[in-house]
Amino acid sequence: MSNAIAQQRGLAAAIWDYMTTVDHKKIAHLYLVSGGLFFLIGGLEAMIIRIQLMKPDNDFISAGLYNEMITMHGTTMIFLAAMPIIFALMNAVVPLQIGARDVAFPFLNSLGFWLFLFGGLLLNVSWFTGGAPDAGWTNYAPLSTTSPGHGIDYYVMGLQISGAGTLIGGINFLVTIINMRAPGMTYMRMPLFTWTSFITSTLILFAFPALTVGLFLMMFDRMFGSAFFDVTAGGNEIIWEHLFWIFGHPEVYILILPLFGAFSDIISTFSKKRLFGYSAMVFATVLIGFLGFMVWAHHMFTVGLGPIANSIFAVSTMAIAVPTGIKIFNWLFTMWGGSIKMSAAMLWTVAFIPSFTIGGMTGVMLASAAADYQYHDTYFVVGHFHYVIVGGVVFGIFAALHYWWPKMFGKVLNEKLGHWAFWPFFIGFHLTFFIQHFLGLMGMPRRYWTYFEGQSLATGNMISTVGAFFMALGTLIFLYNVVYTAIKEPRASADPWDGRTLEWSIPSTPPFYNFKQTPLVRGLDPLWIEKMEGRKGITPAEPLGDIHMPNGSILPFLMSFGLFIAGFGFIYQVDHNAWFIAVAVGMGLTLGSMLTRSLKDDLGYHIHKEDLIEKGEGKE
């Protein structure tokens, strides 16, 4: 009895701990768990889509619900699953890779997470309040501005809130990488994952404001009667498309770049080789980021921008194939002459190369503006982007999770189960999406609720659906592996993979202050250098001293919760002015928390040298 109470108290304390934490490693857990749940929800939506399309003239779900399903699938997967899981990895790994004790803004880091979570929750509440958004994840006006019900309003508010969180998270990582690197960790010694996280954060910084503005205009149009996209009052619906894609195209590189970095680290570790062409890899990353901002109109070839604009954007889009190709070949030549160990992490990585290459190539085919008049808005495009997103981003997430799991959770994921999860997912992936290219060319537009008998589309769709079930099976085995590992596997050592970078020089899981002594970095792959010189650990850059740590805080949670409440107020004030009370209450909570934050001194605390020596020398 008393035991149960103690346990309960233990649980409550743990929850409180996570609600107030500013520790980047715990925030990584929060991002991973919530992003993972959203991935399952998005996956479930994908399964429903595939079941509906299994056979011609199917009516498993209604046409209206289908549109809600694809919209929520796309939105959830991109904003609430892929991005947060990437943030989980960045939080877990980047500070360790640069030898930092913490991120630059621990408080903002936690705020970023809670904003994302409450934004995501707000978006998903729409399922229960009379209809989710249904204008596609691209939300084109005027379909979106005229959509009845409140679905689109949820889209606008949910993405606005979680987008703010993402922007904050991005700035945090930029400053962390600029300012918090350990002595000797020059830019050109940073591991590739850190580099790509850096460029991704830059892209976030410049891409999200365009979305923010787009969402504001959409909000004003729908909730306050403005006329930005209303052609009858002189508005112009194309503005939304531009704003969305000025954000939307960089967004896809925001998704893929960090995983390019993860692949680079993994390939180098499991080939026991230094990354081939390191500086070219860095250069290619920067170039992709830069070009990523000049190509957005390739999503709008059929809008009628005219042949000159279409040609310019076509050619600039194709240019991105060059730096990406540099990456592909550098990976191949990192493995060349290496000693390749096919661990689960490496397996996902190795599978990524051909899958992503196919996806990239169909991308270049799409970039061929005139030909896109045929591909656009067909399953060919669906095939393209799932090849790059699932074959690149999702494979990358699985690879990175296997690789860094010991750092994040202290245990190595079971290797055998890792292989078992891989094969059904991999086979299912190709089954599902390869055939879709042909479906598109055979005349199947995307976002189609159903197709007819006699259009020769049945077989392909059936294969595609079967494939999706394989992917679900693979995902389930992975989940089983997580549970199994937590219960059965032994604790991991500090360096289970014979790693090369700083994160493997400290225990798995690291103490909350990460590095007892700030490491001294003497080159690329610092741990490897020390190992080759026969040392066991990294040379410290400073004598043992007091460590300054930030205090936890509940304020980020409260600020985000306030916006969550205000969100409902904004959505429903159209129906009744009384809802402005919710706006006031919510904004009051948020602004009040902000004021508290800025008026109260929060100086953090110190861990004393003596305590470090006592604790530090133990096994864990």
Partner: protein, 355 residues
């Protein structure tokens, strides 16, 4: 242990085989079986790009396969430490320059085709045909301004010449796509008017889709392009110009139907030449091959449509009238005898693919 490629192979073979079974889609729907200038041009462009992609892919896969087989860590090699190569200038230059060249090879025809398809030709002067296309939730209106003819759902064009389309929308964005004749183009509401052209090689009935998400019935917004010889086209135009909207039908049932129609339906539907209304122009409804673009053309389906259109096309705007089942039968009789022309989809020599 079989190499990774060994495991990959069945997947690819399976997909390719499946494709083989499906053929490459229907004659009148697939972009892979072009029946018009645009589609053919674009298929050629696709083929160039596919060739380039295959070339690159083969190279990547060759290196990949070799590396994975040759450099896999073997038993007893656990302690082997490979040489830590930093990079290789000439290799890196090669894989930067070759892709650039390949992309240039692709870029040139891309730009050419893009300008080619944007051809806006001097209109009417040279007698070329211009048709105004209006997308509506969830049907298409076609107006021939020079000929003062309008129709819906079935677009009649002559073969062997360029027909220019001026495209707008009356509500949300749609996209006009006839895969086997040409690429697609969005129809935007407001002043953002687009143009494109169709040039069909062979007579036939080609399937068209709406390709931009436009609401629940987006997937049901199908239409036909009926390509006929130029004599037949002239015939069709003059037949359409001579339609007598007031003509009394022959059968009694159809006469009652006409009355009921004028009573309940004329608010939205026009018979005879008209601008895009709330509902499709039904002047030549008797010549349709489909009802509302998707249902097989027969009386039963038509009555069904009139009685509950929202079940067939969720969210469509045909509503707010009240007819009995019997009236619906009569109206059906009336509408189905509205065939004022000899030129119909059925008479088109090559109406391949229709079920």
């Amino acid at each position: 242990m079989i190499g990774l490629m060994g495991k990959l192979r069945p997947v690819f073979i399976f997909s390719v085989l499946a494709l083989f079974l499906a053929g490459c889609g229907e004659e009148n729907l697939s972009a892979l079986k072009p029946k018009g200038y645009g589609a053919e041009l674009l298929l050629d462009l696709m083929m160039i790009s596919i060739a380039i992609m295959l070339f690159v892919f083969v190279i990547v896969m060759a290196i990949y396969t070799f590396v994975l087989i040759r450099y896999r860590r073997k038993k007893g090699e656990e302690d082997f430490i490979p040489k830590q190569t930093e990079g290789n200038k000439s290799l890196e230059i090669i894989w930067t320059v070759i892709p650039i060249l390949l992309l240039l090879i692709l870029a040139v025809p891309t730009v050419q085709a893009t300008f080619d398809l944007a051809d806006e030709q001097p209109r009417s002067e040279d007698g070329s045909i211009t048709i105004e296309v209006t997308g509506n939730q969830y049907w298409w209106h076609f107006n021939y301004p020079d000929q003062e003819v309008s129709t819906s759902q079935d677009l009649y064009i002559p073969t062997g010449e360029r027909v220019y389309l001026d495209m707008t929308s009356s509500d949300v964005i749609h996209s006009f796509w006839v895969p086997s004749i040409a690429g697609k183009m969005d129809t935007n509401p407001g002043g953002n008017e687009n143009t494109m052209y169709l040039e069909a090689y062979e007579e036939g009935v080609y399937w068209g889709h709406c390709a931009e998400l436009c609401g629940p019935s987006h997937s049901l917004m199908d239409f036909r392009v009926v390509a006929v010889s130029s004599e037949e086209y002239d015939q069709w135009i003059s037949d359409m110009q001579n339609i007598d909207a007031e003509a009394t039908p022959e059968t009694a049932s159809a006469q009652d139907g006409k009355a009921a129609f004028e009573n309940s339906c004329m608010g939205c539907h026009a018979i005879g030449n008209s601008p895009a209304g709330v509902g499709p122009n039904l002047s030549n409804f008797g010549n349709r091959t489909k009802i509302a673009g998707i249902l097989d053309y027969n009386k039963e389906n038509l009555v069904d449509w009139i009685m509950n259109p929202d079940e067939i096309k969720p969210g469509n705007k045909m509503q707010g009238y009240n007819v009995s089942e019997e009236e619906a039968q009569q109206i059906a009789d009336y509408l189905m005898q509205l065939d004022h022309t000899e030129v119909t989809p059925e008479t088109v020599s090559n109406s391949s693919g229709e079920e």
